[in-house]
């Protein structure tokens, strides 16, 4: 380069990605660390060897994010001994899966009953927050985990433990339930557009949109009417 048109900031600083509106957003150091040094992802050659008894998959590349999570649960203690993941998606999607994999396996593993209680907010907190419009990415992590735990229950013949209690899947592509819509409304979403910003619901499954709009109206009425 014979000219130096741009001076870049110190590489230890958080990455600043600018949106088209000109407003900046920032990834925290934790996000950056997990993105550049992802933990527990399924490396090449490992997929044949890695033993697992639960697998969950959510999203699709067409929606912009896809996530697969494999878990190895000790049937005695019901603790998640090990896990692996693969994620197609942007920086925050990769970082949020990585941090989730750490949360469920640290301290000798989390019990499956505890693991399924992990909420998107827990992942966000651990990441030190995410830019607003990136929050939908981390929502996939807990969905993948719940799907993996359900798969574990299925594989071990514990069908009665499969978690569908009260939840009705509205978006079959992203496995988004009425509970997720309720959560989004509680977080401030008031219309389909708002909810889609958080959840991308209906993007891959457009047929589900009327049902989603009904749910948004119902929960808005219930909590704020």
């Amino acid at each position: 380069m014979n000219q130096e048109p741009l001076k870049k900031e110190d590489m230890s600083q958080p990455v600043d990605i600018r949106g088209q509106d000109g407003g900046g957003w920032l990834y925290s150091d934790i996000v950056k660390d997990h993105f550049f040094h992802p933990r527990n992802f399924m490396q090449y050659g490992e997929d044949e060897k890695f033993k697992f008894n639960g697998m969950g998959r959510v999203g699709s590349p067409a929606c912009g994010d896809e996530m697969v999570l494999w878990i190895q649960v000790d049937p005695e203690t019901e603790k998640i001994k090990e896990c692996r993941w693969r994620t197609f998606g942007c920086g925050s999607a990769i970082a949020s899966t990585s941090v989730l994999s750490e949360m469920i396996t640290e301290n000798e593993g989390m019990k499956v009953d505890e693991a399924v209680k992990i909420k998107p907010q827990d992942i966000l907190a651990r990441l030190g927050g995410l830019p607003d419009r990136k929050i939908h990415c981390s929502v996939l992590g807990d969905k993948a985990l719940q799907a993996a735990v359900n798969d574990y229950f299925r594989q071990t013949g514990q069908h009665n433990r499969i978690i569908t209690a009260g939840a009705k899947v509205v978006d079959k592509v992203l496995n988004i339930t009425d509970h997720d819509i309720e959560e989004a409304v509680l977080e401030g979403a008031r219309n389909l557009e708002d909810v889609q910003k958080k959840l991308k619901v209906g993007v891959g499954d457009p047929e589900s949109i009327p049902a989603i709009e009904d749910l948004i109206r119902f929960y808005t009425e219930k909590y704020y009417g």
Binding site: F36, P61, A62, E66, R86, G89
Partner: protein, 410 residues
């Protein structure tokens, strides 16, 4: 996990986003901030000096596009020029008709005014482009209706470099007008990306309106121009002191206009030489990518006469563009993506989508746009790390798992 480079190199490959200013341009502008500061409308010497610089710039720019000085209107940006062309023609001719023809791959500076006009009873026909982003001149002419007042088609596309056959459309439009004994429709082209590389002779292109701006041609940001052919009635959007033939009021940005004229002159004079130099770099990069990275698809026309010489847009399958950008940024390599994750709307590029590219392909697209500062060493530096970055992200991606029909994969 990825190797740290021994020596970090700034590699700017985003010239379609904006360019740094040429030092010669900066030098030309320098006197017009504090020394020659007068208002060109003022009668005294200080004003006349400024007015002289304004006129010189207008003459220089006019010559470069083969127009008369009075046909050049200086504006505040390429976006403003596009808005002026569309709203200006729409407002002056709405009695004749309320139909405009354009392309789905236009810049938002054209698309958003058109979508706004729709709310006011206008009809817009977007002529389809093919899977390479190219438009057929006859298809444009066929879309003309008795109530069509404007055709707006960009010369070269900012995302994937497709060059529209502006001269051919222009010629066929002249025939149409002659056959129908009509002055309509008028023809506008957004030539912002083309300005550094292509011939902009308005008599060869047969355009009535043409947009160019400074920030893509090593000139200052915040300056643009609109060429308006004589006998093309247009309404002003900005009213005030009556500057720029009453079409664009506001005290002229003399330093900016002088810089714009200088920059435009420099790029147009050097365009053949620079195109040949950059063409070699782009071909070198594309060959290296094809050789070293599997599962890559070129987006847009094949490298050649139908593609803007400095543009390389490719999809790296199974991975996502923002993640690629973040890794590249660690090596201080700067480029763009059509992925939804970097856009405000969380929608992937409208240009790639209009070409029929599936969403998952748009998400993994990268755009490299070359310019003055780039050399072969930049390509070598980029290609030292890009294959590793792609491989790292692919290892983390579940997408190819589905392809391989993994035994344990449900």
């Amino acid at each position: 996990m990825l190797p740290k480079p021994k020596k970090i190199r700034n590699v700017y490959l985003d010239h379609a986003a904006t360019t740094y200013m040429d030092k010669r341009v900066l030098a030309a502008m320098q006197p017009y901030f504090s020394e020659i500061f007068g208002n060109p409308s003022s009668l005294y010497a200080e004003g006349r000096k400024a007015n002289g610089a304004l006129n010189d710039s207008r003459r220089a720019v006019a010559k470069l596009v083969n127009a008369l000085p009075e046909n050049i209107i200086f504006t505040g940006s390429g976006t403003e020029s596009d808005n002026m062309a569309i709203y200006g023609i729409a407002r002056a001719h709405e009695k004749k008709g309320k139909h405009i023809i354009s392309l789905p791959i236009e810049h938002h500076a054209v698309l958003n005014p058109l979508e706004d006009l729709k709310k006011h009873g206008w009809e817009i026909t977007y002529v389809k482009v093919n899977d390479q982003g190219l438009v057929d001149a006859d298809a444009v002419i066929k879309a003309i209706r008795p109530d069509t007042v404007l055709i707006s088609i960009m010369y070269a596309n900012n995302e994937m470099g497709a060059i529209a056959p502006i001269a051919e459309i222009g010629r066929k439009l002249l025939q149409y007008r002659k056959a129908n004994n009509s002055a309509y429709p008028y023809f506008h082209t957004d030539a912002c990306q083309a300005a550094g590389f292509l011939d902009l002779d308005v008599e060869k292109l047969h355009v009535d309106l043409m947009t160019i701006n400074g920030s893509k041609i090593y000139g200052p940001k915040g300056v643009g121009m609109l060429y308006i052919r004589r006998g093309t009635p247009i309404k002003a959007l900005i009213l005030g002191g009556g500057q720029e033939r009453r079409l664009r009021s506001g005290t002229e940005n003399i330093a900016g206009i002088v810089g714009f004229a200088k920059a435009f002159e420099l790029v147009q004079t050097a365009k053949e030489e620079e195109s040949a130099r950059i063409n070699k770099l782009v071909e070198y990069l594309w060959q290296k990518i094809q050789k070293e990275i599997p599962k890559v698809k070129l987006n847009g026309p094949a490298i050649g006469p139908q593609r803007l010489v400095n543009n390389l847009n490719a999809t790296f399958m199974d991975i996502e563009g923002e993640a690629l950008l973040l890794y590249l940024d660690e090596y201080r390599i700067m480029c763009s993506t059509g992925s939804a994750c970097t856009s405000e709307s969380l929608e992937p590029s409208h240009v790639l989508t209009a070409m029929g590219l599936p969403y998952e392909y748009s998400h993994g697209s990268l755009r490299f746009t070359f310019g003055h500062c780039n050399s072969k060493s930049d390509v070598d530096y980029l290609m030292k790390y890009l294959p590793l970055i792609v491989e790292t992200l692919r290892e983390m991606s579940p997408v190819k798992l589905a392809e391989r029909q993994h035994a344990k994969y449900k």
